[in-house]
Symmetry: C3
Subunit: 155 residues, 3 copies
């Protein structure tokens, strides 16, 4: 039974899948007190295919990167659902860290990262507004175009 | 009416401006409990001009990078003032994350990042000493030379 | 007198050294409430020599990088011991942030970072499983191959 946040997402065509479990000695999320730290999510779609592969500034456009960042955001929500059962237990999106797979001259990381930020506000409204850090990195796992980590205050 | 910390900064010629509001679905800071997470601040000066533009290891010297990191620190303080009204409410600088726009062979990020660390101790004394992570990144928003994010314990 | 965790590490040949103190205005760790933030640790061994120097994708192999990440993890444990006196006071490894010194085409950061993750589970068992973010960066201090920061819930 989906909560109100998940229903709202469903009405926008966003369905939350079972998140992939890491195949190593780390986990998708850890809760400490009312804080939930979610591992960096690369831009895999629910079928495990990269939404965008490669570098911004080379073969990946800003639009493709923005869609990839949105996909990272959806993966964060899927982890939240696995952690909490119900997204309505999210009190506040506290912080997103965005890592953009970039050539040395790509300087529009924020436009890419907006894909994740906009999704959080689409899901949670004003509670979705967060502190954010966006940087361009030399490479990402699996040559993903974008990776986003999240910190959430939860009930 | 400036508190004692802000008066001390003023005596050193450091005036805190109104911080720029993000033009997107994120915010300058989020408080959760006694923790205040401040978004990554790039090295804009109060007039919105980059203190240093480009890469360490190429066109930006360590001295220029150090000044840029100090500018990021001033922007963090401006966010703190916007969040708290009075910098005297800062209990401890907990963590700074420093991202240095670097060529692949630039290995002196810590000397650059000291510009931000020194500013925190100039402002807060021993309470300004913090955990720190410094890395060299492929690119930064607007081609800024330095970006610094901060975490603060607040009253 | 070593606690049970440190004894277990000793039985695996892992001895914790006095961590190096930063020679700048930052510190190795800061505690706020029950959270302990540990500064980014580069892959120095106890003698202050880099376990691996240079870039993954160039002169550093995945195996060497994995050993370097494990070394960063040992340095995190040494900071924990300095902070807490006894590693048994660690309630949970909350989050590790892994920064891999990478060429633009190196995409196996997670295999490198497993060196740090595996060490945490070797030390703390299930309490050692953590949220994790791994990215490839353009450069690291001293040309270290790996840098890892940590967040811990402590008693």
């Amino acid at each position: 039974m989906a909560g109100t946040i998940e229903q709202k997402l469903g009405a926008q065509g966003i369905l939350l899948h079972e998140p992939a479990s890491p195949v190593a000695n780390y986990v998708g999320f850890v809760r400490t007190g009312n804080l939930l730290f979610v591992s960096g999510q690369v831009c895999f779609d629910p079928e495990g295919k990269l939404i965008a592969k490669g570098k911004l500034g080379a073969n990946v456009t800003i639009e493709q990167g923005n869609a990839a960042a949105r996909g990272c955001g959806i993966n964060l929500l899927a982890q939240l659902k696995a952690a909490l059962g119900d997204l309505d237990k999210v009190v506040r999106v506290v912080r997103l860290g965005g890592f953009i797979n970039s050539t040395p001259d790509f300087i529009d990381g924020p436009k890419v990262m907006n894909g994740a930020s906009d999704l959080m506000v689409a899901a949670f409204g004003d509670k979705g507004r967060h502190a954010r850090t966006t940087v361009g990195v030399a490479s990402l796992p699996a040559d993903a175009a974008v990776e986003v980590e999240g910190l959430f205050e939860v009930a």
